[in-house]
Every structure is written in C-alpha cells, then in structure tokens.
Amino acid sequence: MGSDERFQELLAEMKDGVIEYDEDRVKVAAQAVVDEGFDAYDGIMNGLAAGMEVVGELFDSQEYFVPEVLMCADALYGGLDILRPHVDMTGREAVKGEVVIGVVEGDVHDIGKNLVKMMFEVAGFTVHDLGADVPIDDFVEAQISTNSDIVALSAMMTTTMMGMKKAIVKLKEKNPNVMIMLGGAPVTGEIADMFGADGYSENASNAVSEAIKMVGALRKM
C-alpha cells in the first residue's frame, strides 16, 4: 500500500471515528499519523475536522443531538491532543484568528460555548476560553492581553443576557476594532444588533462562518 493510500486510510479512520464517536479508533489513527511521519495539520483538517463537518450536518438534520455531539467532540479532542503538538505551520496560512470566549457573569450554562469553542479550534482559530460566570472586566482584560480579533459572549438567561450589552460597551471603549459575537438561547440577531454586537451565532456551526467573516473584515482595515 502506497504512502498516500495509507494516509487516506488513516484520514478516513479519524473521520469515521469522530462521526461514530469512537475515541479509541480516532486515537489509534492519530498516533499512526504521527508515528508514520504524515502531516499532522492535514490529519487535523482532513480527518478530524472533516468528521466534525459531517457531525454538524447530522446535528442540523436532527439525527444527532447534544449528547451525540459531545461524544463526537470527545473523540475529536482525543485525536487533536495527539496531533496538535506535531503541527508545523511553516509555509502555511497564519491561524485564522484569535478568539476570547466565555459565558457572561451569573450564568453557568456552557455546553453551547464549549461546542462553539471546539468548532473554532478545529477550524484553526486560537481560542482563549474564560469558562463560565465570567465578570465583564475579565473579558476586557483577556481581549487586551491576547489582542484577540473576536470576543464571543454566551448567555442562556434573560437576566444574564443584559450583561452582554454592558460588556460590549466596555470592550469597544478599550478597543473599538474588536469584533464581538453573541450567542445563547435568549439571544437573537435582533438583540445582537440592539446591543451593538458585530455578529450573532445561532448555533455552533454558523459561529465559525460568522467568525471567519469578522476576521476577514478586520484584516481589510
């Protein structure tokens, strides 16, 4: 079996392993990528990320639900942890962007945020995850210290959602160019506009496409 054939086999193993949430299968294939000298970045993008893309479609079509997606995420991270230290970015396009992400103060619902974080990482963003119940000033401090392109705020309740408006004011005061994305159950596009955000993520899948647009806009400035 030729080298390229072998690599394709391993990519398929990782992709299918993610889709079938078989963490062991993904890890075995990922380790083989490293041991056999194949490109780790390609392994992530064309194996793991390709699998997650299918998972996203299964989620959109309501064949997979949150528990299945979490299982797939576990499988993906199993492979990512093995491949990431071996990624060589020489001659490759720079990371897509830097993102600070967190759930606003008073709110502890973080599943959505964790899924969005995973999608960003798989897509090539560098993510700084502040966790849940994050004070507004921590978002501001993190944005400044990381010089992130995007700050992604999540809230699950109407009470905590109002904190997003205050966060946007403070973030833009310190850095008018930072892009702010909102997400969470009570949040809509209308609310994102009203609060002065730059984007709104209806779900984890479209968070990445929104983020890519935002970073594209920033790079043109």
């Binding site: 309501q62 979490l70 008073g106 849940a132 109407t158």
Partner: protein, 356 residues
C-alpha cells in the same frame, strides 16, 4: 390595577380552556415568577428563600397584572439544593449551582443521591408553603399551578449538564439509578404539594426536545419517571401541565407518558411546521399554553409590539378553546412589568370569544 373582564373568574376561564370550551375570553397569564418580587419590592435572594415574601409578592403581582392563572416556579435549583448541591443565591438574580463545585464530580459520587424527606427539605418545604399560601389567598378565583423539576433536570444541576449527557451515553444505568431515587422523593413532594389543594402541577421535562436529546434517549432516561410523576398528580385529582421550552418539543412522547391536560411551550413541536398545524394536530388533545417569547418580545419589545404578537397567536390557537395565552417560558425576572400587562390587555382586546 387588575382588569375587570366579565363574568368568569380567571379560574373558570382556565378550566373552560382545559375542557376545550370557549369561555368569555381567552384565558391569559404571562409566567410571572421571579418578576413578582419587584412588585412587593424585595430582593431575589430573599424572595427565593422566604415563603411569606414569595406569597405576598405573587398576591401583589396578580393584583397588578391580573393573570387568570399563576405559576409558582421559584428556580430550577430547588430540589437540587435539598439533595445537597452547593448553591449560590445572588442578591438580584436566579439562584444556581456553584459552577465549580458540583455535588456529583465523579461517577462514584452518584451514590451521594439518597432519599430525602421533601417535607423536611429547606427549599422543597418552601415550595409547599409558597403553594399553600397562594392557594389560600387566591385559589378560589385564580388558577394556581405549582412546579416540580424532572429528575434528569435535577441531576443536571448536581452533575453539570455536559457531564450528565455524556453519562447518559456512556453509563446510562448509573444515571437511571439516580433518577429512580430522585423520583421517589419527587413523588412524595407531589403528595405534599397536592395537599394544599393546588389546581395543577407543572412538570418540567426540559430535555424532551430536539434542542437537547433524541426522543429515544429521553424515553429511556426520563420517560418512565415522568410517567410515574404524572400518575401521582392525577391520582390526587389534579391537572398535569408539562412545561418544555426547548426547540422541536416532543409533544408525542410527553403526551404518551404523562397525558397532560396542558402543555406549556416556547417553540413548535418537532412534528409541526406552523401554528396552524399545531392547532390541528394537538389542539383537541391537550390545552396549548404559550407561546410569546420572553426574549426578545417580553424583554425588549414595546407593549404595542407585544400585543400584536399576542393577537397573531390568539387568531390561530384560540378558536374552539383549548388555549391559554402565555409566555413560552418564565417572564424575564428583570423585564418591564408593562409587558406583562400588555399581554393581559391583548387577551381583553383580541381574545373575546368568538374570535374574529
């Protein structure tokens, strides 16, 4: 001031809706819960823990807004707190678990879930006193619904939702065993609540929707327990109202397991694409309660916009009865009470039977 609306009391109006009859007008009631504290003028922290303040708050809120029925939801951490979950009681926000210190940190910790007497539980007994006080104050004229969170929801408060969902997939038996214990406590809590004479018990089976888990997984993990809870409520001669504010709600399996007299919902069920389809498919099988969005509508829209949304929904869902105008989920605890009043005005202006 509460609106004077004709000959029927709010309770009579709600009963006619549950019987799928047209009363004098569409019964209505935004799910004002935590927001009630602001009428009396007490903090969330006090309101959530002092049943006298909770009762007086609801009395004053009902006088101001004029709901035909009231929901006695405090927060989703009531039962979890009594099982030993560390909780936070913010001064002006909903009580919640301590994020970084869940009771159930490992699979072994599921053994910490043991039977407790709800009548001795600090928060569950608060719920009973709250229910009793409101029933005594307004139960003759206003429909009163108390609240019980489902066992999976309670576990999510003690384990964290993400870890719980993974446990449901990887080690379902451990989760089911814990649900069994929790359910035994909830059955006793239902007994205590029903002794107050409360008209209905709202069972919250949040995860029975396409937002969260598959129908098959919900039926496996919570279905049998939900069935027992509903049977207990019905054995007391009380109505079961299912509350589920997820997207693509599973009306079918919730009807099958709980046979609720009403379903309170925020989004269309998974088998209906329009409100018209919802009315046609489910309108004669259960009373539909909803479904004006708390956000952004109740939170950020003007009273005129809110009334317009209410009018749209009344037009489709009200004819023939079997409908209660309400919010899809709890009215925003910090939202403007003018929005709640707008809903009642809409019921008056657009909800007189027969609907034009």
């Amino acid at each position: 001031m509460a609106l004077k609306t004709g000959e029927m009391t709010g309770l009579e109006r709600v009963v006619s809706a549950l019987q799928h009859k047209e009363g004098d007008r569409v019964p209505a009631g935004p799910l004002v819960c935590g927001a009630a504290r602001r009428v009396l003028g007490v903090t969330y922290q006090d309101w959530a823990q002092d049943s006298d303040l909770a009762v007086e708050s609801m009395i004053q809120a009902q006088k101001l807004i004029g709901q035909d029925g009231v929901l006695l939801l405090v927060d989703l951490s009531v039962e979890g707190a009594d099982f030993g979950g560390p909780m936070v009681f913010p001064i002006e926000d909903t009580p919640h678990p301590v994020y970084k210190d869940n009771l159930i940190k490992t699979l072994e910790d599921y053994k910490k879930i043991e039977y407790i007497d709800p009548r001795k539980g600090k928060r569950m007994s608060h719920m009973v006193r709250y229910t009793d006080g409101v029933m005594k104050a307004m139960g003759n004229e206003t429909a009163v619904m108390t609240f019980v969170y489902g066992p999976l929801g309670i576990l999510s408060m003690l384990r964290g939702a993400e870890k719980l969902f993974l446990d449901c997939m990887k080690t379902p038996q451990i989760v089911q065993d814990a649900c069994e214990v929790i359910n035994s406590v909830l059955l006793d809590q239902i007994d205590a609540l029903c002794e107050t004479g409360v008209h209905a018990v709202v069972l919250d089976t949040l995860f029975a929707s396409g937002s969260i888990m598959s129908k098959a997984l919900w039926m496996k993990m919570e279905g049998p327990h939900a069935r027992k809870l509903a049977e207990r409520v019905h054995s007391h001669g009380r109505a079961v109202v299912v509350h589920n504010c997820g997207n693509n709600v599973y009306f079918d399996v919730q009807m099958e397991t709980m046979a609720p007299e009403a379903i309170s919902f925020a989004f269309l069920p998974d088998d209906c694409k329009t409100a018209e389809e919802l009315k046609e498919k489910w309108g004669d099988k259960t009373c539909l309660v909803g479904y004006v969005p708390p956000s952004p509508d109740m939170m950020l829209h003007t009273p005129e916009q809110i009334k317009e949304k209410c009018k749209e929904q009344i037009k489709v869902l009200a004819p023939g009865g079997g409908y209660i105008l309400s919010t899809g989920c709890e009215f925003p605890p910090n939202g403007s009470l003018l929005s709640a009043i707008a809903m009642m005005e809409a019921a008056e202006e657009y909800g007189r039977y027969p609907i034009e």
